[in-house]
């Protein structure tokens, strides 16, 4: 079923927009790339971070949390998450250091899934996605 989710004017060239649609209120990230609109799951395939808060460079969407990358055209995962630079280890309190060590270990054990993609059509300046 097709759902109207936004107006074409709502998205700047090279930009993104977060919308919700469907009976189960799905979170969808609309992306503009060279005049076309692509729709992918708004949640990162790694740890569910909101991808509309990330960066879109052409057709490559980078997650704001761990910098995993995805192809908005296919939803394919392009790059795994990367570790944050925590700076000088001596300046980090021991409990915080232990937490980040755990977080890092779990992060590398978390499988990164491809993003779900949705069919998109544009008619009379209105964007619709199929769910």
């Amino acid at each position: 079923m097709w759902h109207e989710v936004a107006k074409l004017d709502d998205i700047a060239p090279g930009g993104m927009k977060y919308v919700r649609a469907g009976e189960d209120d799905r979170e969808i990230c609309l992306c503009e790339y060279e005049g076309d609109i692509f729709a992918v799951s708004r949640r990162c395939g790694h740890e569910n971070a909101p991808l509309d808060q990330g960066a879109l460079e052409g057709w490559i969407l980078t997650c704001p949390l761990h910098d995993g990358q995805f192809d908005i055209r296919t939803g394919a995962n392009l790059a795994w998450p990367i570790d944050h630079d925590m700076g000088d280890p001596a300046a980090i309190p021991e409990p915080v250091k232990r937490w980040f060590k755990l977080e890092q270990r779990l992060q590398w054990k978390t499988r990164v899934h491809d993003l779900h993609t949705y069919e998109v059509r544009v008619a009379d300046g209105t964007i619709e996605v199929e769910i």
Binding site: Q69, L78, W80
Partner: protein, 108 residues
Amino acid sequence: MGTAERKESLRYLYDKVVDPLGFKFTPDAALAEELLEQEVKLEQDLGAPYCPCQMRSRVRGEDMRIVCPCIPFHRAHFDKMKRCWCGLFVHKDVTDPDSLPQFPPDEE
């Protein structure tokens, strides 16, 4: 993560970085493919697409200086050689990358 897809995305992202710096991908297409493949493997194993021809020091601040494309960190050296260390990038006017001289940084 598919190697072919990652190579394509690295090409796309690198081009946006190196073009304003006056560089382009080497005209040696086979070499470019081989180097990109090695970078994808390094990224999968170590977390970042390090330069395939450089040793990591395991000091993060230093290692970040050899993550491809590392041109901004070694600009003077690369400009003099008209290529980067591994040869993935050359100056825009280069048509025969094999003719370019190489020398270590201390001979800049």
